[in-house]
């Protein structure tokens, strides 16, 4: 794995992440376009994500849920704003209720993904931003809750081994 750049920008509540893969752009694109592959990396191991089948196109709403260690579910959605087939997409990501309806006051992350060929394979650039500090905080708290549960799960596993 080669993370070549991370640009943190607290004043605009945004983060840009640049990573280079040795795989071809097409295979990196499939990590985003194929709902089965996407489900394998989006959620942490203890909160695996399941994405409903979708076609990446502007206006498409993608539904997913993550399943926790005790079978609890956290639902989420993407709204696809633009797609440049094989080369990039822009989408909004947020939490949803059980029926897949966006939880409006939780806010959204806006993300732009760019995939481009380089000599050694593929460069993927991900730029994410949050609308307000409060929304950013709320979303990260939600993520933290998921992460916390994961950490607790790991502690339990270690204790069980001992």
């Amino acid at each position: 794995m080669t993370i070549t750049d991370i640009i943190r920008s607290p004043e605009t509540l945004s983060l840009t992440f640049v990573n280079e893969f040795s795989a071809s752009p097409d295979r990196v694109w499939q990590l985003w376009a194929d709902n089965e592959k996407l489900g394998r990396w989006w959620g942490p191991p203890t909160w695996p994500a399941t994405f409903a089948p979708f076609t990446l196109s502007a206006g498409e709403r993608v539904r997913y849920f993550m399943t926790g260690p005790d079978g609890e579910e956290a639902h989420g959605y993407w709204i696809i704003d633009s797609v440049d087939e094989g080369r990039g997409l822009t989408f909004r990501d947020g939490f949803a209720d059980k029926d897949g309806n966006p939880v409006e006051d939780m806010g959204q992350t806006t993300a732009t993904v760019t995939i481009e060929p380089i000599d050694s394979g593929t460069r993927m650039t991900l730029a994410s931003s949050f609308a307000t500090l409060e929304q950013f905080e709320q979303l990260m708290e939600m993520q933290m809750d998921l992460g916390m549960t994961e950490a607790l799960g790991q502690i339990e596993a270690i204790l069980a081994e001992g």
Partner: protein, 123 residues
């Protein structure tokens, strides 16, 4: 792995290091030291009053500064707590994406091992 995010001595240093736009970084550092009017800030840059006002608006939206009207002047105050909060949130968000990218690598490697390649003809 090359990571260009350096950790500096203090959290505030880290945040300042992270500020991407030079003008906004400068505005934040100035008003953290002492409150300043938009017009006195504008006097320090080779750009229009309106342009400086826009930078201040971006900072204001992120809660990193607050603006108060004092007579005919608009006074900009720094909000160090918000800057620290934003920086801590970015730490966590960065971690989230590091984990995701590492899982992406695992999937690409696993597919290689399975011979499940979707490559076209070599270039």
């Amino acid at each position: 792995m090359v990571v260009q995010t350096k950790l500096s001595d203090t959290e505030v240093d880290l945040v300042f290091h992270a500020l991407a736009d030079a003008t906004r970084r400068d505005i934040v550092s100035r008003v953290m030291v002492r409150e300043q009017s938009v017009s006195s800030l504008a006097a320090g840059y080779a750009m229009s009053f309106a342009a400086v006002q826009k930078h201040v608006a971006v900072l204001e939206r992120a809660s990193l500064v607050t603006k108060q009207r004092n007579g005919r002047e608009q006074v900009v105050h720094g909000n160090p707590e918000a800057l620290r909060r934003a920086s801590r949130l970015l730490d966590r968000y960065e971690e989230l994406w590091r984990d995701r990218v590492s899982r992406m690598e695992d999937i690409l490697a696993a597919d290689d091992r399975r011979g499940d390649q979707e490559e076209g003809a070599p270039a």
